[in-house]
Amino acid sequence: MGGPVWSVAEGRPYGAYRRLADGLRAYRMIAGMWIRSTMAYRLSFAMTMFGNFAGTVLDFVAIMLMFSQVDELGGYTLPEVAFLYGLASTSFGLVDLAVGSMDRLGRRVRDGTLDTLLVRPAPVLAQVAADRFALRRLGRVTQGALVLGYAVAVLDIDWTPLKVLMVPMALFCGGLVFGALFVAGGAFQFVAQDAAEVQNAFTYGGNTLLQYPPTVFAKELVRGVTFVLPLAFVNWLPALYVLGRPYPLDLPAWVAFTPPLVGAGCCVLAGLAWRAGLRSYRSTGS
């Protein structure tokens, strides 16, 4: 914390880069331990993985059912909605896989087991993010990728290099924003220790919102989502660009290219929130 310090193990400067490397290393080790722990109960793992996959499939089935009654949803066809849905679901799924256990932090603060992480020579964020790492969350990623694949195959898109580039960028930047939300939510739990549900409302709720075209929702809500929670950048703006659709709120065309900036900004804010949260925990305790 603060100031240049030296790592005992290596005797090299302990800068931001080393912190990141140490964090990723600790993350890999702890996630690996959790995977092996899960494999102690193989059948249970297979069943929850299937359950996770089936649950998210039902999500999309609900949308398809809607389309069996109407041809368009807010002016969008089924493949177009599938495109939005697939983008959001895949990037959310990847982040949920990576750091989805952040909402357990509140419990660790309450029962005092966070202290056992604080006496280890590894960044706390990495340890908390890898906590209860669950491969079953691959179910959501798989389902999202399948829906996205279906949409890309069916949609008649006039692909340009920029549009092609837009898809991985939207996925990556969406991941940044969702990841930042998870981390900020975790930081919030240092202060309010039973706030897991508040966090879930933002992360899982945000994901649901993004799976539908923006025109379905009221204008005020859309404005709030675009500016207050930059979740729209995750998905809507790049997706609308790819689909060649007009933006809500008459935003200029170039905003489709701002996600990396927004994603990076969100991560910086989340990082600051995390530091503040951890500092507050260490000054007040549980």
């Binding site: 290596e10 722990s37 109960y41 202290d115 056992t116 604080l118 020579p121 007040t284």
Partner: protein, 332 residues
């Protein structure tokens, strides 16, 4: 390098304070802020290789002190150094120098064989292979873990798990070992084993040991020095024997007389209990028993006698009671 303060303190606390803001609900959506001094200006030093017992009732500030010494909590005031390191500022650097055992929170991996937790420590602490193997072999031998290494932690008994936890805290050769209630819930044999191990560790490696406990036998059998804390303040710091004087403790003389008699008169001893021909007399622990026995033998028909050493728990309870009296006196 370690004793940078120059006063020989490997662990050094100077007027360390920890103040918590506690919010208490006083009504619907209404709360009251209150300051709680969990640790109130505590100063002490621990030399390298010492074994110190840290005792006090629940909420006295024991755990808060340990948490500050391990870098978990940031002190609100004062100066704190462990091996020359400021724990709260250089938490990860300190982590390589200390081992921590939380009696009620295992750091072992529940569903995995014990050895897997050790392999994680090996990698996480970047312990050189040879040293890891040597330390593991030693812990396995002394803590009798040989048959347990391949057993999932969830199948271990409480005592086995505690031994497993202690080994996990020592694989990286820490200079200081903190143990928070290491014998809580253990059976007599497991307790004895843990205590013996700690003594050996200290003798062979010179590891500094600081333990908190409710079990005074832990202190009697492991620590040469004891610190008593209450209401966030250090009430006693010194050898265990001195605690008796500090607590004005009393020894008990149990006297069997030939027949039932009225209470014996032998100041400064006073009779505390009479049961038929047997009488219990309390006298200050600092007094010698011999002259008292001689006087009683001269004046009464003595059949048998025995001297009982003061119960340290009673001594500490008495200290707390006196202290509590002072606090009440301050308030009123």
């Amino acid at each position: 390098m370690d004793d940078v303060d120059g006063d020989g303190g490997f662990i050094r606390l100077d007027r360390v304070e920890k103040v918590f803001q506690v919010r208490r609900k006083t009504g619907f959506l209404r709360s009251e802020r209150r300051e709680v001094r969990a640790v109130d200006s505590i100063s002490f030093g621990v030399a390298r290789g010492e074994m110190v017992g840290y005792i006090g009732p629940n909420g006295a500030g024991k755990s808060t002190t340990i948490k500050m010494l391990t870098g978990i909590l940031t002190p609100s005031g004062g100066r704190l150094r462990v091996a020359g390191i400021d724990p709260s500022r250089e938490r990860t650097r300190l982590a390589h120098r200390i081992g921590v055992v939380f009696g009620q929170r295992t750091t072992l991996w529940w569903d995995l064989p014990l050895i897997d937790s050790y392999r994680l420590m090996h990698r996480m602490y970047r312990i050189p292979d040879a040293r890891y193997r040597a330390n593991l072999d030693r812990c396995v031998e002394l803590l009798d873990l040989g048959d347990l290494l391949d057993v999932p932690v969830r199948q271990l008994s409480l005592g086995q798990r505690m031994r497993g936890d202690i080994a996990a805290a020592l694989l990286h050769d820490p200079d200081v070992l903190y143990l928070d209630e290491p014998t809580i819930g253990l059976d007599v044999i497991s307790k004895a084993r843990v205590r013996e191990f700690l003594r050996d560790l200290n003798a062979e490696r010179g590891t500094t040991v600081l333990l908190t406990t409710h079990d005074l036998q832990d202190i009697e059998q492991v620590c040469r020095r004891v610190m008593v804390i209450d209401h966030g303040r250090l009430m006693y710091d010194g050898p265990l024997a001195g605690l008796h004087e500090a607590g004005e403790s009393e020894r008990t003389l149990v006297v069997d007389l030939a027949r039932e008699l009225p209470p014996i008169e032998a100041a400064p001893a006073r009779v505390v209990k009479v049961e038929g021909p047997r009488q219990w007399l309390a006298f200050p622990a600092s007094e010698s028993a011999a002259p008292l026995v001689a006087r009683i033998a001269a004046a009464y028909p003595l059949v048998d006698l025995s001297v009982r050493e003061p119960d340290i728990e009673a001594v500490i309870a008495k200290m707390y009671a006196e202290r509590a009296g002072e606090y009440e006196g301050m308030v009123s």
